[in-house]
Each structure stands twice: as structure tokens, then as C-alpha cells.
Amino acid sequence: MTRLPLAALIGLVFTGAYFAAALLAPWIAPYGMAEIVGDSWEPSSSQFWLGTDSIGRDLLSRMIWGGRTTIFIATCATLLSFGLGSILGFFAAVKGGWVDQVLSRLVDLMMSIPSLISALVVLSVMPVTIPVLILVMGILDSTRVFRLSRAVAVDIAVMDYVEAARLRGEKQGWIIFREILPNALSPLVAEMGLRFIFAVLFISTLSFLGLGVQPPMADWGGIVKENKEGIVYGIPAALIPAFAIATLAISVNLVADWVLNRTSSLKGGRGA
């Protein structure tokens, strides 16, 4: 058992706390998600720890429920982008030839339009619901996963043991899942942290623009949108989600850095 560096420990604790709060929202949130319990923008008190929002809902409860929505959507989108991107990336690397060309050029094309713009274009005709948001974010982000997993798999596909598996007559599926995937897993896991953060920022941005999670559902970007008028009167309610997003981003980054360092030192031997 190797010793856990302090930065990674802090990252793990905070990331774990956010995920726990998201999972346990119905039990730990003091009030309901859309329950109006006080006046608008009450300052923080023993009854409302973070104060109330623009129409008198408890802000702490909104933050916990909102975190649940934000983290849920970001997790689903990340899983989708990894499933899609890594399998297509490995497939392109193993197949080579025109399959690789077609997939790679298609990804180049999708990446030539900024993802926020693509998302806005698609959302202008699609209904804005949570499954649509997850699909749009997952597919747009899978381009980046595709590039990474293809690059990793191209290196692995020329290894002797893959060659041996091919000569044994193993099928394409075996080579992808039993030979390449286990060896490509560590860079992909580290990348997953970064993609997750990107998804959190992306869904928050969309919700802030009014094109993401729709009210009365709470999510962190939406909480900023609902409380932005308060800023002008010096009420910092809209800055609380800022704090939550930034701390979540930093702690996931710390964990991802640690995973990456640990796995890159594996090249030299397992004990390092």
C-alpha cells in the first residue's frame, strides 16, 4: 500500500463529499427542492445556513439538490463520452485503413466547431430535456476521448503481445477488450477526471444561459441565473455555486493528477 500524498487526499475527501451529498440529497437537504420557506434573499441564519434565494427557497437545500442534478448529468455525459469515444477510438486504431480515416476526419470536423456553439445549434431545434442534454454533451465530448484513446491504442496495437493475439486468431472484440483496453485504462481514467470537470462546467454554462436544466429543477448554473439580480444589491447568493463548482473542479483535478502520476510511474516497475 503506497502512501497517499496530501493533495490527493484533500482531493479525494472533497470529491467524495460532493458525491455523497449528491447521492444523499433527499436525506440531508433541510428543505425540499422547490419549497418556499422564507422571504427572498434572507441573510444566512441558524434556520437557513446559506440564506434564501430570489423567491425565498432555502439556498443550502437548493445547492444540495442542484449539485445532485449537476453531478448526475455530468457523470452520465462523461460515461457516455467515454463509452462511445474509447470504443470508436480503439476500433479505429485496430482496424486502421479507411475506417480510421473516416472516423478521424469526422472527429476533426466535429472539433472544428467549438462545442458550445454546436450544442447551442442543436438545442435550437431539439427539446431541452435532461436525456437530450446528456446525449448532446456526451457525443460532443466523445471526440476528445476518441483522439486520446486512438493515440494510446495505436501505440499498443503494434506491441508484440497484440501481434501474438492476432496470430492466435483472436477476434476484433477480444483484441479491443482483452488486449488493448486493460493497457490503455490508466491514461483514460486520468482523462476521465478532466472530462468530468469539463462536463460540470458545460452543463452549468448551458443552464446559466437558460438552455440547460429547466426550472423548477435546481442545478448550479441555474442557481446563478436565478440569483444574478441580487449581485447588484450586494447579495452574494449567486457566488455560492461559483465556490462549489471551483472546489469540485480543483479537487477532481487533484485526484486525476495523482492517478496520472501513479500510473505514469508504473512504466518503470510496479513498486515505484
Binding site: I113, V121, L209
Partner: protein, 319 residues
């Protein structure tokens, strides 16, 4: 025999144009061929079959998709972006004015962010692993981790509300003086600078550090040159291609980041125009904005590639 650089540059420009054409197909596919029905989503659930049929007729949705694409593309090539559904006005003049506003905002941010990022990068290489490096690195990591709209409200909260230094809304109008205009966009410029500074500075630092391993840097050190002179005169010129690349990628990012920042500060630019019309489901406007954004983005990436081709002496002076 054509000079190889000219050939490379011509190839890259042709590729850029091809990419733009393909992007226009993608935008068209995204809005017109996806399962969602444009007419249905404009009118909402309460639409009667007659109004739906009328709108489809008006939008030309009964034509085959290929015909619609080519008539749209033909219009775009003649500078005709079609009419907005919401008010029936032609899109091109409204878009042009807003594009100028957006480019002005992005240019102001770039003029500050690019030199600042490079200077900070040089400083953190000079003092690497000492406190100035660590401080710069920590601050830029923090600004990267916060999305632009939150940065926007943080600066509004402190600079506009608490200390009343700059206006929280960036209202600009025709015939406004240059100085007033700069004052009005002060806060959005700060936000955009913060948003791109971190990445640019980190990549500059990494690019220069990469060069610092070379033998000629050791030679310069042994000659007794001052550390900053080594970095600025010997290391930086050799790191210019990656640095320019990063700068261009960030400028392209700036044009996208502007979408959110414009909404925060209610600035009458392209981003605000796009977001407004996405919520109104005004498809022609969304298509036009998407195409312009894609064009700017592809163009800046193209320039990045061209600069790195031209900055490579091995390509400029072939044997």
C-alpha cells in the same frame, strides 16, 4: 519548382476552406435533419396541423434537404443570410454590427492578455520552482477552474458593486466615443483576460522550459549571460512556434468565451444574439451565427498552423 513553403501554405488554406464547407454541412444537418421538426419546435405543442403546414411551406421545409442546403449555401456566398423568423428582418446587417462589437471586445481582451501571458510565462521560467512561479501557477489554476460566467459575477460583485470602479452593464450604442466605449467594456475585458490568461501562460512556460534543456542554453549560461537575457534572447525565439500556436488557440477560445460573457454583461454582440435566438428557436439566425463562429474559429486555427509553418527555419530554407 514551387517553393515548398508556398505549397504547404496553399494546401493548408485549401484544407481550411474544405473544413469550413464541411462545417456548414454539419450546422445544416444539426438544425434541419435531426429528428426534431423545426416547424413543430417553433410553434410549440399547441400548433394546429394547418399552421404547421403553413409554416413548413413558408420555410420551404417541403423541399428535399439537399435543395434547401444548396439554396442556403448559395445565399450565404452572396452575403444573404436569410431572414429572421422572429421579426422577418434580414439577418446579415444585424449580424454584421454585432460581429464588429464582438470582435472589438475580443480584440481588447487579446491586446491585454497575450503580452501579459507571455511576460508572466517568461517570469515564471526565470524563477521556476521559486515563489513567483508558484504564485503565478496557483492564481492561474484558480482562474481556469471557474467558468466565465462565475468570474463575471465575481468581478461585478467586487469591482462594480463594492468599489464602484466600472459599470456592471456594458451598454454601447452608435456614435459612442472610443474612451467611453473602453470604459463600458472594462469588466468583460477583465473576465476574458482572466479566462484565457491561465492556459496561455502555462503553455508558454512549458514551451520555454522545453527549450531550456538544449545545449545552446547551457553554452549561453557558461558565457555568463544574465538569466533573463538567456530566456528572452535565446530560449524564447526557439519556442515561438508553440507559443503562437497556443495564443491562436486561445484567441479562438476567446471568441467562444465571449458568448457567455456577453450574456453576463448584456453586451450587444454576436453571443447574446445567438443565445437569444436559440431560446426563441429562430433557426435561420442560429445557423448564421453558428457559421460565423465556426468561420472565425477555423480561421484562427488556420493562422496558427500557418505561423508554425512559417516559423520553422527548416521549411523556410530547404536544402
Amino acid at each position: 519548382m514551387v517553393h515548398p513553403v508556398i505549397k504547404l501554405v496553399a494546401q493548408r488554406i485549401a484544407l481550411g476552406l474544405l473544413l469550413l464547407l464541411a462545417a456548414s454541412v454539419l450546422i445544416f444537418v444539426g438544425t434541419q435533419i435531426l429528428p426534431g421538426d423545426v416547424a413543430q419546435s417553433i410553434l410549440g405543442q399547441s400548433a394546429t396541423p394547418e399552421t404547421l403546414a403553413n409554416l413548413r411551406q413558408e420555410l420551404g421545409l417541403n423541399e428535399p434537404a439537399l435543395t434547401r442546403y444548396f439554396s442556403w449555401l448559395g445565399g450565404v456566398l452572396h452575403g444573404d443570410l436569410g431572414n429572421a423568423l422572429t421579426n422577418g428582418q434580414p439577418i446579415a446587417p444585424a449580424l454584421g454590427k454585432r460581429l464588429l462589437n464582438t470582435l472589438f471586445l475580443a480584440a481588447c481582451a487579446a491586446v491585454i492578455a497575450v503580452p501579459l501571458a507571455i511576460i508572466l510565462g517568461l517570469v515564471s521560467v526565470r524563477y521556476r520552482n521559486r515563489w513567483p512561479d508558484k504564485l503565478i501557477s496557483a492564481v492561474t489554476l484558480a482562474t481556469i477552474s471557474v467558468p466565465e460566467f462565475l468570474l463575471g459575477y465575481i468581478v461585478i460583485f467586487f469591482l462594480a458593486v463594492q468599489y464602484r470602479l466600472l459599470p456592471s452593464l456594458s451598454t454601447v450604442y452608435d456614435g459612442m466615443g472610443f474612451g467611453d466605449r473602453l470604459y463600458a467594456i472594462g469588466l468583460p475585458v477583465i473576465v476574458l483576460v482572466l479566462a484565457v490568461l491561465g492556459h496561455m501562460m502555462r503553455m508558454t512556460r512549458a514551451a520555454i522550459l522545453n527549450v531550456m534543456q538544449s545545449a545552446y542554453i547551457e553554452t549561453a549560461e557558461l558565457k555568463g549571460l544574465r538569466p533573463f537575457a538567456i530566456i528572452a534572447r535565446h530560449a524564447f525565439p526557439n519556442a515561438i512556434a508553440p507559443v503562437v500556436n497556443v495564443v491562436m488557440i486561445n484567441l479562438a477560445y476567446l471568441v467562444v468565451g465571449v458568448v457567455v460573457v456577453e450574456v453576463v454583461f448584456v453586451y450587444p454582440g454576436m453571443g447574446q444574439y445567438l443565445v437569444d435566438h436559440v431560446s426563441k428557436r429562430d433557426v435561420p439566425v442560429v445557423q448564421a451565427c453558428g457559421l460565423v463562429f465556426a468561420g472565425v474559429y477555423i480561421g484562427l486555427n488556420l493562422i496558427a498552423d500557418l505561423v508554425s509553418i512559417l516559423a520553422n527555419p527548416r521549411l523556410r530554407h530547404p536544402k
